[in-house]
Symmetry: C2
Subunit: 145 residues, 2 copies
């Protein structure tokens, strides 16, 4: 296992592992406990350290992140022998322009009012450490602040 | 979404969702942060509320559970449209008889010395709440203490 600070090569290696892994279990901390739920990263193609999720302003995920920003993104593709854990610090981004930039039509299934809906916000999860396991070998990358 | 206390029907419904989902990302709490890693539940066939994992006594997972027992088991089978989150309280079980009862040969790949190895312990994760999402509908079961 390799531990290193991140370089563009590391980001490319992580992006390779995340390819086609568009749904993770987003785990938030809630006081003494944890909560997890599946969330789509919107088929993000290039991993630059940040992962973005659309969410409702009044959702438990948003409320929990506002209280405790440390989150875990758990990706599994057991049928392909690929597992990824991203430890991240999350922030809520409440910015209609950002909503518009990141919006795509499939999201209408969950957010029928579209990106203008004032109840729709973004969660930005900034990776602190990414670990991956699988047939392609193990990765352990600590991302520079 | 249904919230209920558990019955044998609930356990059967959860077992149905967990079928063939033998690897989760086990998320532990470590002070202000979290750590995740893939762990096998050893192809557990009947879910009774407890999930068992073999681990090394000196592993980070064991150390973190000893400090903070609250864990999250994150299961994804995106290709089948199934996601499960188990919020659990974990304990370390250091019992050679239990190791023997739960041992099977494939584990030799990770624990070559076998169940007698004094470095091999079990993590028992007792579910507090199980949520599942997917094509078969959503589940939200709080397990009775």
């Amino acid at each position: 296992m390799t531990v290193m600070t991140s370089t563009s090569n590391d980001l490319a290696a992580i992006a390779q592992r995340l390819r086609d892994l568009d749904i993770c279990i987003l785990v938030t901390r809630d006081g003494d406990g944890t909560h997890g739920r599946p969330m789509s990263n919107n088929g993000q193609v290039e991993f630059d350290g940040d992962t973005w999720f659309f969410a409702r302003r009044d959702s438990a995920a948003v409320r929990e992140i506002e209280s405790d920003p440390r989150v875990e993104l758990a990706y599994s593709a057991t049928e392909r022998g690929t597992w990824v854990s991203i430890e991240a610090e999350a922030t809520i981004v409440d910015d209609a322009d950002e909503n518009h930039r990141r919006w795509f039509d499939e999201l209408g299934r969950w957010f029928p009012e579209g990106p203008e809906d004032s109840e729709v916000v973004l969660i930005r999860a900034t990776a602190l450490r990414v670990r991956a396991w699988g047939e392609a070998g193990d990765l352990d990358v600590r991302l520079a602040d």
